[in-house]
Amino acid sequence: MSRRTSPVIPGFGLTLGYTLVYLSLLVLIPLGAMFVHAAQLTWAEFWAIISAPRVLAALKLSFATAFAAAVINGIIGTLLAWALVRYSFPGRKVIEAMIDLPFALPTAVAGIALTALYAPSGLVGQFATDLGFKIAYTPIGITLALTFVTLPFVVRTIQPVLADIPREVEEAAACLGAKPLQVFRHVLLPALLPAWLTGFSLAFARGVGEYGSVIFIAGNMPMKTEILPLLIMVKLDQYDYTGATAIGVLMLVVSFILLLLINLLQRQIAKS
């Protein structure tokens, strides 16, 4: 394991050893313990837990809302990054600094603030009530909360890439007769797509696991607005550690498969 390039610089053994021990003790062994705990179940028992209608409903809701939020962020985030990188306008610096607010703001604060805004009697929610639909306490509210907490991911991954594409490339394409859409499709999209996918998958992974900002606005009705992390919490409150563990394993496995697929897609794009 020790093919170092700079034998002059000391500390390889020390830092690698420390890194491995720290990661093992705090991350790998505890996560492994969850799988060991789940392994005490037989397949039939495991299947019975994860195929319960309530679990499947929560699974669908969690992944669907996280996916929707990641797609919305993929669009809003690209527009925001574009405006921030390409144009200078009044307030640009303030917006630029405030984009990271969802990362700095504790999720519970975001949760109660969004609920106060979008509840049927809230500042924004009352307009939705007038129009005859509800935002808070529905999957729309959950998607909204997830969109808020994951907003910075796409903006922050796209920004540096966008800044690195010289404007001359687009101008050259336009001079050669390319229409704006063609410029976008053939010049910008190939350059932006890998970063966009990275931002998308970060937002998606965070959205699937998000708890604090969602539980206030979700309403938490079993079968309707109950997310998967909350269901783990419910099982824990009932001292059903086995049930909680099985759902936790299910959640990790499904997210890793999806992230792996996104990663493969990314490599495919990088090759072509």
């Binding site: 394991m1 700079s6 390889f12 705090l26 700095a104 504790p106 519970a108 783990i232 936790g248």
Partner: protein, 290 residues
Amino acid sequence: MSSVTLSASASANAARRGNVLGRRLLIISAWLVFVLFLLLPLFIVLSEALKHGFGTFFGAIFEPDAISALKLTLLAVGISVPLNLVFGVAAAWCVSKYEFRGKSLLVTLIDLPFSVSPVIAGLIYVLLFGAQGFFGPWLREHDIQIIFALPGIVLATVFVTVPFVARELIPLMQEQGTQEEEAARLLGANGWQMFWHVTLPNIKWGLIYGVVLCTARAMGEFGAVSVVSGHIRGYTNTLPLHVEILYNEYNHVAAFSVASLLLLMAVFILLLKQWSESRINRLKASAGEE
């Protein structure tokens, strides 16, 4: 020929007009997202907190349970951030200064906590150290409490913030390479001298940036801490959990008052982040000039 130039300039004009329109639309939509999506939640937190005036606002903040929640939050941040700071420097050091097999796997493992739900982060420690966990009986025999106590809260906070410092430092240190360190060694510096006088000044701002992000997350962590804390008021209640309890008791004004304290801390963190970011950019710019 003239007709060709004419049509070319006409289409250029049309494109420019389209550009101006697109530009305006984009700037307006950036402002809309900013005001509706980022500013409005801030506004609602403060306005709900001050609904009944400053008296109730400060009353909620200086209430003993709120003060003890604040102390616990600061204590958890004060333990977990330095732990991840040392880890981040060590991890970034071995990843950026050496080549070895399995490096990309190691980087993936460092990032792993980002794709694990905070609730699962809490769950795994309950499975290990809870009353029914692997070490539960042993811990009870020795009268050590981890879950529903400070150690559990710290463990959960450390787990969710493991990657922050390392993630900021790895690209920065890879960019800087190893030349300066090698020079220091050849001039006779020992390992620590090289680190203190050469590496640390170079990575200072990136380090601060990572610590700021790590602090923000540690201070606001909710899901993971919620699983391991047990919500014992005055003992194992952090500030975000205190907000939840007040909110669920329909004590909305107090919940938003405590929330606005967290909000102020978040805005302070954003300012710190902006400051360290601008220092990094200035360093990069001056490095580019050389």
